[in-house]
Subunit: 420 residues, 2 copies
């Protein structure tokens, strides 16, 4: 590896995540993150790096990754191999062209990596489902009867999924904290996050067909960090009987770099055993999750909130969870989603649902971390905190690390602005 | 009007609905239905018909209507005026070119008119919400406390929305009719329809903005017939707590012609009064629905079901309802959907939810028509019928008629094939 890279970088030579970037003089195109750099894929293509791989090279000159993703797993694997060879080979002919094909990340603007077709949100962390159920129905009835038989999921809004760095205004909606009184219209008072991972579909299925659970991972391109912003008070009033709607669809944020399944291959770990036994279409020959540490940080606004760019606190670690805490694996989510013939398309996102670990400091939402707002967190400055406040910034980070190999997701960072 | 048109045609000169068609020798493009004909819009454009209107004429040479829809209401209105002038003017210079720009509908293949971005399903018919609630919770608790305060809605699956004429295989899924027993995997036994209308969004809003209820109709391009196919037994087991998922996303079918708001202008009628008073963001200065008769027909398979094309009965009228039976108007649906800043895009569909009228013969689903399967319908041949059977065909038709003017939607016709 002749390019100097910080050993703590999320973007090691083992990672090579794909994204979409632009620079002041050139429009959106496909890039690959490496250390502090972005590999400019159209430029590297023009230098001949991928001549040995048979695919339409114009897929790198697009506003989204979808066309590249649609070339399939074999092309993706070959492209990754070429990139690793280039940087591993001290005599690589491309070494003299780095000024052409390497762009400083600080000079690049990252944008939404994927054109999302349909977005589905699952509910696959047992601890999260238990926590929410226990809060609303008591610990004895926490899990619904269906929960251990199928990966509960529902459809979400694709249009309002945006990339890290985009702020949003606190949403307004109908609130009805006391149902003996009429509802009123106001900004949400219980603005929350949900720590999730999103699976990016690379290969779909035809309407009417289904995807076998043991083939399902072949349909995955990679993964993103996903923050499923939620307004708990809007949700409470609106969600019966058809599920969350305006409580969720105002904004969801994702990290800009899609980390491929190949990059995560070394970080597989056994998934939790399932009991009762699931139906045959959900039975895996080898149940595995990915061991990816997930962290939520809060940067609290500290100055006069009326200034446009208030000072914020140092990032405070709110929660540390892990992608491995999924009762329902990504493969099971895909098999279930398609078992009725529903068609997935390239670019679809399947979010995991909030990933809460077994201990209270690993819960993936403020709803759980503060147990419905009843047990506020104590911040380093001694103040108490329940739900997200105006001008605060939430950062989700994710990384896998093992035997000196680090594969990270970077971050998804979002600042909340006051209601319009 | 110099082109002879059957006075009973859905596609009168007042209608002029837009769709996408192809012919054996030419690919998909925009067409307008008129009588038994399709107006080939790219050909008419090349003949100079729209020279006086300033827009990119290539929008007619697309696989979907979206780019034309995005040109906005003023262009749409002008295009309609040009078409009406051409056919009203007995000396129209285009009269000698009909063989160039008129295609017989029987020679045209109609395809999905709109590239659907996001699809939302509302629940806006009071009678339907009451019926379903009464079946599950009794008549006293039929409507949830939120129902009269907001148009309940949820996100649906866009990828599996297909055009009339496409068959599908009976979906399979988890069923658990007796929750003291484990679930099992089987084809749905309670395959149902939902008689709905879908609003096609022509002009969206930016993320973070909202659409005023009294401006909302300006964002509508037009409407489609919508059959929201549903598997009631899958739905019953899976839907708590996050709403319907696999019970709905296997298939939804739409009519091929989008009828514009302009074509329906003469058929406006007062919407039901609302009590209690709704919150200000939902208050309309003039509450109106559209008086469109909606009919559901069943063509029952009558012969050996193992033959590929079984004979079917004559169409039997199962239900006659009306688009006017919406408690929540389309404008209120749009205002509510965006009040939290959620962005709508051109091509989004907002379905109404099942539209059930006040009498049992006007209910919009077999669930309601047979009251959960307990009161089967009696067909003309004396047999009883509850849910949709293999090889049966369901047809939904819709039309408005007044003072000799007829504006119809054609039909959405779907045949159910056996489970794969």
């Amino acid at each position: 590896m002749w390019l100097p890279i910080d050993p703590n970088s999320d973007f090691s030579i083992h990672n090579l995540p794909f994204g979409i970037f632009s620079t002041p003089n050139a429009p959106k195109r496909v890039g690959v993150a490496l250390g502090d750099w972005v590999i400019d894929m159209p430029v590297l293509t023009d230098l001949g790096a991928f001549n040995g791989i048979d695919f339409d090279k114009n897929v790198f000159r697009r506003d989204f990754l979808n066309d590249f993703m649609a070339t399939g797993k074999a092309v993706r694997v070959s492209v990754r191999q070429v990139l690793q060879q280039i940087f591993d080979d001290p005599c690589s002919p491309f070494k003299n062209h780095t000024s052409a094909f390497l762009v400083k990340q600080s000079d690049a603007t990252l944008s939404m990596p994927v054109k999302v077709g349909d977005y589905t949100d699952f509910y696959s962390s047992e601890q999260h489902a238990f926590n929410v159920g226990a809060m609303f129905r008591g610990a004895e009835n926490a899990l619904m009867p269906n929960w251990k038989h199928l990966p509960v999921g529902y459809h979400g809004r694709a249009s309002s999924i945006v990339v890290s760095g985009t702020p949003f205004h606190r949403p307004k909606g109908q609130l009805c904290p006391d149902e003996t009184q009429p509802p009123f219209f106001a900004p949400t008072k219980r603005l929350d996050i949900e720590l999730e991972m999103a699976t990016v579909i690379g290969t779909g299925n035809d309407l009417g067909d289904r995807i076998d659970v043991n083939q399902a991972e072949n349909h995955v391109f990679g993964f993103l960090l996903f923050n499923d912003w939620s307004a708990r008070d809007i949700q409470r009033w609106e969600y019966v009987p058809l599920g969350p709607f305006l409580a969720k669809n105002f904004f969801s944020s994702v990290s800009p770099w899609v980390v491929t399944t190949e990059a995560l291959a070394s970080f597989r770990t056994d998934a939790p055993a399932q009991s009762p036994e699931v139906l045959p279409y959900l039975q895996e020959t080898h149940r595995q999750n990915f061991d990816v540490t997930l962290e939520v940080y809060l940067e609290k606004s500290e100055t006069d909130k009326t200034t446009p760019t208030p000072q914020r606190s140092a990032p405070f670690l709110v929660s540390r969870s892990n992608f491995k805490h999924l009762y329902w694996t990504v493969a099971q989510q895909i098999a279930h989603h398609t078992v009725n013939g529903c068609n997935l398309n390239v670019g679809d996102l399947l979010a995991s649902g909030t990933i809460s670990g077994p201990t209270p400091d690993s819960y993936g939402s403020f709803l759980e971390l503060t147990w419905g707002g009843k047990n506020p967190l104590t911040l380093p400055d001694g103040t108490h905190y329940t739900f997200v406040q105006d001008y605060d910034t939430i950062i989700i980070r994710g990384f896998a690390e093992k035997e000196g190999k680090r594969v990270g997701f970077g971050e998804v960072r979002t600042t909340v602005l006051p209601a319009k």
